[in-house]
């Protein structure tokens, strides 16, 4: 029961993040077109455009990755995996989910610790806008935390013998 609720909540959050990601991608296209237009009309270059696009790209990546994981859309080398029968495949599913869980879990924790450290030291990006770095690094632990939960659910399903 709890798992069903968690699944629904997580799916909603994942979708929401992915939609924000798509919105950010649109924003990148818009602000770069804006910069090109403004410049070609003879006005000054908007120095923030490149930077903001770069940061947006990072957020698109980590906000969108959990949704793709849920939908099994990440690129997989299917050479061996797809030709396996049910049982070995379930075994591999369990192993992969465990690796993924550990990986994303560790990176969530480390990511948070980097964010905290950058926050405390007041580290800034060496760019025109000089934003505080922790705002940017934050993208990674957020995405990793969601993916940790996603791998956890995959693991549970795999133990129940379901194909994910």
């Amino acid at each position: 029961m709890f798992l069903v609720k968690l699944r629904r909540l997580l799916s909603a959050v994942n979708l929401c993040c992915a939609i924000i990601g798509a919105g950010l991608l649109l924003m990148i296209a818009v602000i770069i077109c804006f910069e090109v237009t403004v410049r070609s009309l003879g006005f000054a270059s908007q120095l923030w455009v490149i930077e903001v696009s770069e940061y947006a790209l990072l957020f698109i990546t980590f906000l969108g990755a959990p949704y793709l994981l849920e939908k099994n859309m990440h690129v997989v080398l299917d050479l061996v995996y797809d030709s396996l029968s049910h049982r070995p495949r379930i075994v591999l599913q369990i192993i992969n989910a465990t690796i993924g869980l550990a990986l994303c879990g560790i990176l969530t924790v480390i990511g948070i610790s980097v964010v905290v450290e950058q926050f405390q030291l007041g580290v800034r990006q060496v760019t025109v806008m000089r934003p505080l770095s922790w705002w940017i690094t934050l993208a990674m632990p957020v995405g990793m935390a969601l993916m940790t939960l996603e791998f956890l659910l995959q693991m549970i399903r795999s133990f129940r013998g379901e194909r994910v």
């Binding site: 270059s45 490149i50 580290v123 800034r124 060496v126 770095s133």
Partner: protein, 302 residues
């Protein structure tokens, strides 16, 4: 056992800018045999240049030879290493390096010293002919963030672009010029640059930073001998090694059709002042007015 140091640099091995560091590593490993052992792991292919100081601070790397402007986000005063028209010997007479040691220590970084290259200043390269500083007004000049205030002060329009785009942007007229060091430009930009503005501004010096815990593994005596070696023996010897390369490059640039616009003494002085004022103003904004004033006092021509 020797203190083992993994080092990383702002540019790859065999590139001219890392040659002095190669020599530094060699001399240190020989002179401090059994006490210090530096292993040079590589450049940006090992660790992204803008993350190297942070990597040294957190201990993933033991040492970096980097650009002062690459870690202003961590040590806001680091960029001041560029802000002088004095050479290394003159700066070394002030308390500048001692003060930098303290400022780095506040962010848990050990500032061993700088490997100076005073002659590697920054120059303005323009695609079209310009005949005076006034011609720069409204021109689009590609800069990295440190040089932004100067370009703004010149009335030009700074534009920030990835390095890969400079060539096409200049060729197609998206930008009118760029600001870079004196070396390597003739070969890369032949046929595109028509005017170089002389004199250049600022100076170069490449800080050698160490992880604090690793530095503290050295005995105080060794720490002392190590920093003294860099600051009083190695650095003064290396400061003026670039004269010949710059002369060769200058000839190559002229052969490639770069015209030199030499400012009059008066213009040059105004340009220098403008460059320093703009940069120090930004330093004051980012690092605090007080420390900026204190450091400027040491670095301004006496």
């Amino acid at each position: 056992d020797p203190v083992e140091i993994n080092a990383v640099t702002l540019a790859p091995r065999s590139v001219y800018i890392t040659q002095p560091f190669a020599q530094f590593v060699e001399e240190v490993n020989e002179r401090f045999e059994g006490e210090i052992e530096i292993t040079w792991r590589g450049g940006p292919e090992v660790m992204p240049p803008f993350g190297q100081a942070e990597g040294v601070r957190n201990g993933a790397m033991g040492m970096t030879y980097t650009s002062p402007s690459y870690y202003q986000g961590l040590v806001p005063t680091s960029g001041t290493m560029n802000l002088s028209f004095m050479n290394y010997a003159e700066i070394a007479e002030t308390d500048y390096h001692e003060r930098m040691t303290e400022l780095h220590a506040e962010q848990n970084l050990a500032f061993i010293g700088e490997i100076p290259a005073t002659e590697l200043d920054f120059r303005i390269y323009m695609g079209e002919e310009v005949t005076s500083l006034a011609d720069l007004e409204g021109k689009r000049i590609r800069v990295f963030p440190t040089l932004l205030p100067l370009v703004q002060a010149l009335g030009a329009e700074p534009i920030v672009l990835p390095m890969q785009e400079i060539y096409t942007a200049l060729e197609r007229g998206t930008i009118d010029g760029f600001m870079q060091g004196p070396l390597g430009q003739a070969a890369q930009f032949e046929g595109l640059v028509s005017t170089v503005i002389e004199p250049g501004v600022y100076r170069a010096g490449f800080p050698v930073l160490m992880n604090m815990d690793l530095f503290n593994e050295m005995s105080p005596d060794l720490q002392e001998r190590f920093t003294t070696f860099l600051r009083e023996d190695f650095a003064p010897r290396i400061d003026d090694i670039w004269t010949e390369d710059i002369a060769t490059e200058r000839a190559a640039q002229e052969a490639a059709g770069f015209e030199y616009l030499t400012l009059s003494e008066e213009e040059a002085a105004r340009y220098e002042t403008m460059a320093m004022d703009a940069a120090w103003e930004m330093t004051a904004e980012n690092a605090g007015a007080e420390v900026a004033a204190e450091l400027r006092e040491m670095l301004d021509r006496q």
